[in-house]
């Protein structure tokens, strides 16, 4: 089981491309003349997981759960408050920027907003070729050739090399972002909500493209999204996050048929699915209230303020992330029974 949180990260090469241990990121809130720290946003609050070579690992959760901060910690666009990120046997969590540069060849990121993540004053050929230039991988004609190849591969017309981002639609811009991410032939891509801003028909095109590239290039993918059906479609294993913690981590098929954590059950239950037949509509569990503020997360189990199964112990003792079934770990004192799952969701066929 790859999720054993207790196991110490080792420097030897393993099946895991990425090993995350007790990762924490707090953002201080400062006030007053002396800019004293008055509070902290507990964005990511002690998470551990492994990402295996060649797998697609999903992170799901609602806004404020810390999934995007996690993405930025994995790619070291942010430095963690504490904890470790071991990439390919080396702990990169405290590397200075200079040392991180060569790593950028291996680890790339795709962003949600294809409008904000592309420089409007650069031609797309320049944008896609930028990583090659920055890392001194290819120059002049060679660079142009490689950019054209990549453009062709992601479904952009290489003749549009000199056009600017505003001349492209949202779907095409996301292809530009993908081209920029794969031009260095990375090993790991972290995709943060890559299709959330796209229309349904375009979303499917981009998901297919990501799957094809993953298979062709042997990529390892960390896929972050709030859309549970998209995550299931893409991922082999999935971690569900709530208020900076992982509450459940399971193989994709397992998570959607046998959710153990009440929050996972509630999330799945809340997704409106397409039903042709009137009898298909099931009573949903509707969680009360909103997600509490990550500035002052509830003590013990963070979900206890919204959980319908909450008991006294849930408000006093934090449940550890521990095995609750085959290929499934969850952090809950009172995991869902099979009967409760039946009442919550229409289980998809496995």
């Amino acid at each position: 089981m790859a999720v054993a949180a207790a196991r110490a990260p080792s420097a030897e090469v393993t099946d895991n491309l990425l090993a995350v241990r007790d990762l924490v990121k707090h953002f201080p809130i400062r006030k007053g003349l002396l800019q004293r720290e008055v509070a902290r946003v507990h964005a990511v609050d002690g998470i551990s997981f492994d990402v295996r070579r060649g797998e697609t690992f999903g992170l799901v959760g609602e806004s404020g759960c810390g999934k995007s901060t996690t993405a930025r910690l994995l790619t070291r666009l942010l430095a963690p408050t504490s904890g470790s990120v071991v990439y390919d046997g080396e702990d990169i969590s405290s590397w200075p920027e200079r040392r991180l540069r060569p790593l950028r060849r291996d680890v790339q990121m795709i962003f949600q907003d294809p409008y904000a993540s592309l420089n409007p004053r650069r031609s797309i050929g320049t944008i896609i070729g930028e990583p090659l230039r920055l890392l001194g991988v290819a120059d002049g004609r060679e660079r142009r050739t490689r950019v054209r190849e990549v453009m062709e591969r992601v479904g952009l017309n290489p003749e549009h090399f000199n056009r600017y981002p505003h001349e492209f639609s949202g779907g095409q811009r996301q292809r530009i972002g993908i081209a920029r991410a794969i031009v260095l032939r990375p090993k790991l891509i972290v995709a943060d909500e890559p299709v959330s801003a796209l229309d349904v028909s375009i979303q499917a095109q981009v998901l297919n493209l990501l799957q094809e590239l993953r298979d062709e290039m042997g990529l390892t993918l960390v896929f972050i999204a709030h859309d549970l059906s998209v995550v299931r479609h893409m991922c082999d294993r999935i971690a569900v996050m709530y208020l900076g913690k992982i509450v459940e981590l399971a193989a994709s098929d397992r998570l959607y048929t046998h959710p153990r954590h009440p929050y996972t059950g509630a999330l799945l239950s809340a997704v409106p699915t397409v039903h042709a037949h009137p009898g298909g509509r099931r009573r949903r569990v509707v969680l009360e209230g909103d997600v509490p503020s990550p500035v002052a997360p509830p003590p013990a189990c963070r979900f206890h303020t919204r959980c319908w199964k909450c008991q006294k112990v849930c408000t006093e003792v934090e449940p550890p992330l521990e095995p609750k079934g085959p290929n499934d770990v969850a952090a809950c004192h009172f995991p869902l029974s099979e009967g409760e799952v039946d009442a919550l969701i229409d289980r998809p066929a496995e």
Binding site: Q205, N208, S229, V274
Partner: protein, 338 residues
């Protein structure tokens, strides 16, 4: 007679790039107490159709033709002053982003009081009582205290509840909800959808629900219109639309979404290409450049929206039998569509 009848509505905007034909011949009707779902991607004309109902598209560069009949009057030709009496009071609208629909400087309670007193001659005290009642009915905890909150002090879900409370304080006949849950998390979306459903059932308010999410439509709507490039391509009762859709675009949408209630598939089957520009809409059937089944006439002549079975309208040149056969073979190929 229907509560609201949209008849051959055209809305176009003159821009520097050319004329944008946002809505191009839309006819729809809505009965009391029913929910009409309008689905489509960006640029399909679903929001412009809804905004035109309450006169929000009356810009200097806009040309609006056709009729929208409500309560024996035509809303398209109605003077803006008269329309103001209907907007809010008889037909209310909520938007995707509640933060931009609420005034940031005023307390939420006073904004609802103002809405009530604009349309009805009641005292400040009565309006305040009704506001607190409305806030309570949409599930806002301790409404007396929340009355004095500013919009920025509330969460997204809470603000959308305030918008719904404001929309319903005047007991409108119709609630138009334009992507009401798109900006919300899935658990909060479930709360808001449940609320809209409950209010429809309790007060008999008719609802026009505009969304890009087929799941939301499937859960909420009685009838569904699928829009593309300013037109309705298919219209049917919900069960029929999802069990036996007849337009290739509807099939494409259904094939594009990963399904939670079906086995995982290797690859999705997306619709090829991208939606057309509304300045240069393709000749013939607007969907033909992306349609794998387009028969020769689709390249030249635009098909009409015709009834294929009672209550089921389709804008497609393919013969009905052919469409039924194609859908069956698609279901055979993709178990998720069954």
């Amino acid at each position: 007679m229907a509560l609201l009848e949209i008849d051959d509505l055209h809305v176009s905007f003159k821009t520097v790039d050319g004329i944008v034909r946002a809505v191009d011949g839309v006819s729809l009707s809505l009965d009391g107490g029913r929910t009409l779902g309008i689905v489509g991607e960006s640029g399909s004309g679903k929001s412009v159709t809804a905004q035109t109902i309450i006169g929000l598209t009356r810009f200097p560069n806009a040309t609006i033709t056709g009729q929208i009949r409500f309560d024996g009057r035509d809303l398209v030709s109605m003077p803006t002053d008269d329309l103001r009496g209907i907007r809010g009071a008889r037909i209310a609208m909520i938007f995707q982003d509640p933060l931009s629909s609420l005034h940031p400087f005023y307390r939420v309670g006073s904004q609802i009081v103002e809405a009530i007193r604009t349309h009805e001659d009641v005292s400040r005290g009565t309006a305040r009582r009704r506001t607190i009642e409305a806030l309570r009915s949409v599930g806002i905890p301790s409404p007396e205290e929340r009355f004095s909150s500013f919009p920025h002090e509330m969460s997204g879900g809470m603000r959308q509840r305030v918008m719904i409370a404001m929309a319903l304080a005047l007991r409108p006949d119709i609630l138009i909800a334009d992507e009401p849950t798109t900006a919300l998390d899935v658990t909060v979306q479930a709360q808001v959808l449940e609320l809209i459903q409950a209010l429809r059932d309790d007060f008999g308010t008719a609802v026009i629900l505009i969304t890009h999410d087929l799941g939301v439509v499937s859960q909420m709507a009685d009838d569904v219109a699928v829009m593309y490039a300013g037109r309705v391509l298919e219209y049917a009762p919900r069960e029929e639309l999802f069990a036996a859709p007849e337009h290739p675009y509807t099939w494409g949408l259904l094939q594009s979404i990963p399904r939670l209630d079906a086995p995982r598939t290797e690859r999705l089957s997306p619709i090829a290409g991208s939606p057309p520009s509304l300045i240069r809409v393709p000749q013939g059937c607007t969907f033909h450049p992306r349609c794998p089944y387009a028969p020769p006439p689709a390249f030249e002549v635009e098909p009409e929206l015709k009834e294929s079975s009672p209550g089921h309208l389709v804008r497609c040149h393919l013969p009905v039998e052919e469409r039924k056969r194609l859908w069956q073979s698609l279901q055979h190929e993709h178990p998720a569509l069954r």
